[in-house]
Point group: none
DNA sequence: CATGAATGAGTTTTCATTCAT
DNA sequence: TATGAATGAAAACTCATTCAT
């Protein structure tokens, strides 16, 4: 499923290290000027190596974007998964999951923003992979909700579960997309509390 | 507030006509390949005139994007305003407003998608204007909610009003952004009904 | 059969003129440094216009090589055809043809050298066209020989006709390829006389 | 006369072995894609060692081409020399020499093709050496002819001897250069027979 | 006003060569 | 000796913008 990005360098450790440098540098620049306005030379410089070296670790500029998106998905996924493995039940578990997810999104604001704004510039072959990742994220949230339904905490039809999951996910993105407005109105805690209330209210009364 | 786009041509009627051609052509192309991958030459051709003529009506490529976004905002605004002027009261008015907004977003999917995906490429000076427009949109929705509160239909604090407005707005965008998933799960009518239910549930119980 | 080279410019007169400039400039540079060591910028400069303009008239660097080869074939062909239309019969006609061909090759030494040395760098799709052209050239010579045979001037089998044609053609190229040696030993006239003698001797005695 | 190619490695045996590997690999690649389209990395890989090692045995990419051409000349020379040392006299010796030479060229088609197509890319300093080699080859053929003249087998002036030698040499190359046509018309035996007949005919009647 | 040829700065990418290990 | 990661100059090609007609 993962698109493999070609590298001329054989040592996998080194590849990993260099690509991490690259991703870090690229996110900084993409955040500032977007993917298209950032040149490969700038990325190389920001990453701390030469343009020649950059191309030892990727095949094309688009690969960098893919690497960036992939890394962000992984981190968001990981942190969310980690959170979901903690012991908690019922409503509480859903609340914690939402809070955790919002927390992750808040911690990775720049990254999340970059990912959603530039995803359309990804190489065509990477699109299915990205949609797959989005689906997985949605399913993680769905599962938490579905577990609640299974436990009898509340009643929701399958479509309602899916929609709720989408809503929660998008409310996370919203915290970054509309930060110019939302983050002036609320702290993350307030935002989290209010959105959780909304979700639960709509769930309970359905 | 509106950024003025320079034109060499004096006749305002002609300017208007040409720019409309331009916007139509540009939206088609941006939808397909995005702003950065579309060349000015292509836009000129798609609009039905030469590259030289194109530059008689704009100052730079970014101006086209601005013109496009501006036109889309205007149309969405207009159609929403129009809807809000119809006679209806209380909850019903809110429901109608949401449904109307979702309908507009659905009708203008390509445009809305383009606008949100490319807005970051807008010339720096245009940013405040865009945020202003977003704010106006939000305020239109807020007003409908606030009217309900004023009529005593339900109780909501100011921050809650604002958050609800944002949520509704973003649920509209979501219909386009996540169409690869959402539009497979629901028809527009189903989506509208479910989201309205959610919003109302969360409002009533608060 | 001819590969069409793309141009952004519409006026065919202008295209013709610019491409002629290009070909002239390119031959000068290819002669000096070969196709691969010549940059597109150099070709543009030598042709008297900018790199941007160059690419208004071709699609890729290889197209220039194709244009060059095509032009050379055309000129050699034309001049040979012209010669063959003059009134003469029998052996005399063959002699004149050979002499004419050697004369053309001598006049276009640089061009002929470039063509044969760089032909392998031609875009893959152009190869059949080039072979076709080579075949046509061979057939022109073959025809003169075959006419002699038909007139009963001498006897040659079909394969012998073909081989003789190839030999004559290659003796022409040889005048340029091995000029560092051959042109020190003979004037063009001497070379022509001697080679004609050889060919005729071998023919008569066969 | 031989251009010396610099090596960091002292052991001459090793240098010889490594360079042989290199030449073999390079010929394979040059045959396929030409000198300019072949990278040093590819040559190293095809030769069975690393790019670093490659540069222990040469000073620059051009040196490889020189090594290749030099090796080819040596092999052609050797095999021809060997043939000429067999006992035979008069016309027969000339016939055998031509046949032997054509045989060598046929056996080494790829190499011969590479050599003549890429020779122009040789480092400037190598040019005199190459011309020298070509001259030697010509002289070998010349000598055989001159011996016949000395033996009174036939009469030829010095310039005629030289021209005939060039012709024979070039007929050898022609077997590779124009193989797309010639090798469809004749087997090597037929080609050899016919060309020998031609040469002898032209010689006898002069 | 309309046209489209001309421009050249800027972009991605390649690859011969070096040098620390 | 052998390795291969690092380098950066140089190459092909693009495209927003201008301006003479």
């Amino acid at each position: 499923m993962k698109k493999s990005v070609p590298s001329m360098v054989k040592d996998p450790q080194l590849v990993k290290k260099r690509r991490e440098q690259m991703i870090k540098g690229a996110v900084r620049l993409f955040t500032e000027k977007g993917f298209h306005r950032t040149t490969t030379r700038e990325i190389a410089k920001e990453s701390g190596f030469s343009i020649g070296t950059l191309y030892e670790y990727i095949g094309s500029k688009e690969d960098i974007l893919y690497l960036v998106c992939d890394a962000i998905y992984d981190e968001v996924s990981d942190r969310l998964t980690q959170q979901l493995h903690t012991n908690s039940k019922g409503i509480e578990r859903l609340k914690l999951a939402i809070a955790a997810y919002f927390q992750v999104v808040n911690d990775m604001q720049d990254e999340v923003l970059v990912m959603y704004q530039e995803a359309k510039s990804l190489p065509k072959e990477a699109l299915p992979y990205v949609l797959q990742k989005e689906l997985e994220m949605t399913e993680m949230i769905e599962k938490v909700i579905r577990d609640c339904v299974a436990e009898g905490v509340f009643q929701l039809s399958e479509p309602e579960i899916k929609l709720t999951a989408h809503n929660i996910l998008v409310q996370g993105h919203m915290w970054t997309f509309r930060r110019w407005s939302i983050q002036k109105l609320f702290t993350l805690e307030e935002y989290t509390t209010l959105q959780i209330e909304q979700v639960l209210a709509s769930i309970r009364s359905s």
